[in-house]
Amino acid sequence: MTADTLTHHDHHHNADATDIFGFWIYIMSDCILFAIIFATFAVLHTDLYGGPALKELTDMPYVLVETMVLLSSSFTYGMSILALYKNEIKKVITWLIITFLLGATFVGMEINEFVHLCLEGHSWQSSAALSAFFTLVGTHGFHVFMGLFWMLTLVIQLLVFGINPMMRRRLTYLGLFWAFLDIVWIFVFTIVYLMEAI
């Protein structure tokens, strides 16, 4: 290996590290967005405008299943990253599809919960507490939905391009994003569902 290719390689991996660092900064700014919505929820969660308390509207076992589904999807995404290390493209795609299905189940369960709440007359227009509830849980759900869309795009790109440095980087970005969504969900189920149920 000549000095020339070495320099090139160094430049390349530094660029990758910088790109991923940039994406990490985006994730942190998204954290702050969620923090603001959490603060809003914490301020408004008791303003029910005569409606029933949030704990009467939520179903614990249902939320537990949602939580486990999302947690498993984080694990299966990890499995696809490990397959990526070994350059096993079939395994990468299989694990991504499993992750996609788990994520889709999560979003489906959340939409089902929202539809039921609205049909029972507890929409975001009912009270400040419910507005805050729908904004917080909805923003998280929307992130997961966008992550699913992104995952599908990556599966198609993997089929077209195969595994190359560009695809490794893209899969790393989505991995960070997906782990981040699972971390935000820890606080959603603790603060919105469990603490309200006390």
Binding site: F38, M60, L71, P165, L194
Partner: protein, 111 residues
């Protein structure tokens, strides 16, 4: 050109391993079940229940950051760690500050 050096850099926040994923996954399941179990069975008084839930959530945050994201204090890892700590600072100011202000506002309005 595909030595271990290359892969570790290209995957951002630290090298992932199967064992770290499995340990993280099992710990998270246990922590989640404890959280739900505490609320379901009402094993503690309300104040301790709030504290316990907050504690469990923070532990799970660290488990996921260490096992899934592989945040660490190595020279490369530090670049990810510093913005992370800074965000935690901003988040505590935002959330703590909002609650503090609104609590005082409520108190003054009703007195």
């Amino acid at each position: 050109m595909s030595g271990p050096h290359e892969t570790s850099i290209e995957h951002g926040s630290g090298q992932k391993t199967l064992s770290s994923y499995i340990i993280g996954f099992i710990l998270c399941i246990i922590l989640t079940l404890i959280s739900f179990g505490l609320v379901e069975k009402r094993m503690l008084s309300d104040t301790y229940l709030y504290l316990g839930l907050a504690g469990l959530a923070v532990i799970q945050l660290f488990v996921q950051c260490i096992c899934f994201l592989r945040l660490n204090c190595s020279p490369e890892g530090r670049w990810n760690l510093l913005p992370f700590l800074f965000s935690i600072l901003i988040i505590s100011i935002l959330v703590g500050g909002s609650l503090w202000i609104m609590y005082n506002l409520n108190y003054n309005m009703s007195n």
